[in-house]
Symmetry: C2
Subunit: 354 residues, 2 copies
């Protein structure tokens, strides 16, 4: 698998899925932080130690069942554009993308499993899938974790659990998160109180690319903040319960818009379609917001000729690095805005209002 | 002629006209202020005197050649909506529209001649036409002026000229103005220096509805500020010369956009079309700005299925009072925005980008 092959297909974790639940749920993610016993955390290790550990982990990952048919990318061997591409596909973090040497990522052939080496921790295991099947995903993560641990002993404290570079990850090392598309709550200005409420019960609300990012395109990532004092299953079940409530809340907001503010809803969706159909210079943030309107239009039945999965695909493909890969050359910001607008006009020419 | 009949046809002064000059020139206007000799100005006259003069002027206007086949509206007899309608058609001023009694307007059957009675002055003669034929229009105004003066002597000082309620109109009492559509200069941020330059040479730049109004829809009204010390022809010729330069300046800006910033131009025009085609709640100012983009698209050949005259008509018909007349009922702001959006979608469904 070459990086250039990635852009020829949608990510499996963004694939179409059925049911109203998964209209609002874009994808779910399990992330587990692990470190090698008796080795300095990446931020503290010297260059030689980092490289030695990097090779050891890379070789080990090459043998585990989920990754055997996949690929391992040494970050230092990648050009900037390729690093951005992996980031845009959520296969690596922003932090890993800027590493100099001794860092990398193992990715399964379907992109649903990725293990970063020498990011903030020695290992960051990640499972990503469409829908909301976090418990099944935890089983996959748990098995992967066990397979790796059989090859490489992890830093573990009987009192604290798994040890991590940052104390916020100590214990289970688990971050379970769900990416939700909540345009109706946003349109009705109800996201701010929701975010505050979630914060109070120990859940974080973040944007499309996690910590410190904006909720572009009305996509919100909900995740557990605490990793200590609860089992993995308990953490996941609590998250699932809250997500179920959020989904209901969003569905309720959509109904309220359709019943009581149909014009406002049609105006919102129509204007989004207008921008996507007619703009010739389309910045990334505006594209995401307009694609959010398009998705809402597809899901409320106000638009024909478009489905959520198609919107997912366009969201992915019109990111800066993806655009440059598609056009096979480096593009400056204005050139990207122009190319993004053109691609979107071509893709969405068939969409119309009901 | 009933007020309700007005909305069934475009104003003659907004009719289609040919030539690139009149793509940029929307319309021209001659306004002449006159007062009756030995009578107090409207602001100073008592109620009885106002009513007496009103009747005398109304009867006199009914006999002059340009107005004989027209209509006279007593403003106090009109409902608010009708007053707004006359205002939107530029037949009366905002000041006249709120008068209580003793004020009115005589309008020729083709709406190109209107004479307001007891506005700021006893008489305000107005000629409006498409294009830029101010000298011919001045002849019409001059003849109308003479016909009225033969019936009613005007306040005139051999030293100052015609006397008016406000000293800024003393002398000729003439305000010649041209409504220009200058979207390219606005897009290139060149209107502010232009406005400043015009101010320095004694010309005023105003918005769609004259003094104190915004330049909505990139329409700018250029007029003489001084009415004293120059003949009417000299005032008009100086205005015409500057307008010719402005037209060239705008044409030049359009060429620069088409040659050097084609994407920006297409983006501007495309987004305007997107809003007009897809919005379901469309406020007045946004509609004007978008219709400006549409007009520019028609005139640069980037849009097909639309002509400037059609845009003029839509601009006129989607004003608040016109909308309410069309729908035959009073509409609140949201209802107007909804109806405006619907009318525009219907009218412009055939427009597309080249």
């Amino acid at each position: 698998m070459k990086i250039d092959d990635l852009i020829r297909r949608p990510s499996a974790w963004l694939a179409a899925s059925n049911g109203t639940e998964t209209e609002i749920v874009i994808s779910s993610r399990i992330r587990v932080a692990r470190n090698v016993r008796d080795a300095a955390f990446p931020g503290w290790a010297g260059d030689d130690e980092t490289i030695r550990l990097f090779r050891r982990l890379r070789d080990a990952l090459g043998t585990v069942s989920k990754l055997r048919d996949g690929v391992f990318w040494d970050i230092s061997a990648l050009e900037d554009l390729d690093r951005h591409l992996l980031r845009e596909r959520h296969l690596i973090s922003s932090e890993l993308a800027i590493k100099k040497s001794g860092s990398g990522v193992a990715v399964s052939s379907d992109e649903t499993v990725a293990v970063m080496v020498n990011e903030e921790d020695h290992l960051r295991l990640q499972i990503m899938r469409p829908g909301l099947d976090l418990l099944a995903m935890w089983k996959v993560a748990d098995r992967l974790d066990s397979e790796i641990e059989a090859l490489i002993p992890f830093a573990f404290s009987p009192r604290l659990g798994f040890l991590t570079a940052c104390p916020t990850n100590v214990g289970t090392g688990l971050r379970a998160s769900v990416m939700l598309h909540l345009p109706a709550l946003r349109l009705l200005n109800e996201m701010e109180p929701v975010s505050k409420g979630l914060d109070k019960i120990g859940l974080a609300v973040r944007g499309l690319f996690g910590e410190g990012t904006e909720a572009s395109g009305n996509m919100f990532q909900i995740s557990n903040q605490s990793t200590l004092g609860e089992s993995e299953k308990a953490i996941i079940q609590r998250l699932l319960q809250v997500v179920a409530e959020l989904i209901e809340h969003e569905q309720n907001a959509r109904h309220r818009l359709m019943e009581g503010a149909a014009d406002r809803l049609r105006d919102h969706i129509g204007r989004a379609l207008g921008v996507l159909n007619y703009a010739h210079l389309l910045p990334s943030a505006e594209a995401l917001d307009s694609l959010s309107g398009l998705r809402l239009g597809a899901e409320t039945g106000l638009l024909r000729g478009v489905e959520s999965a198609m919107v997912n695909d366009v969201v992915m493909m019109t990111q800066p690095a993806h655009l440059q890969k598609l056009s096979a050359k480096l593009l400056d910001a204005v050139e990207r805005d122009r190319y993004r607008a053109r691609l979107i006009r071509q893709k969405l020419g068939v969409v119309s209002m009901v």
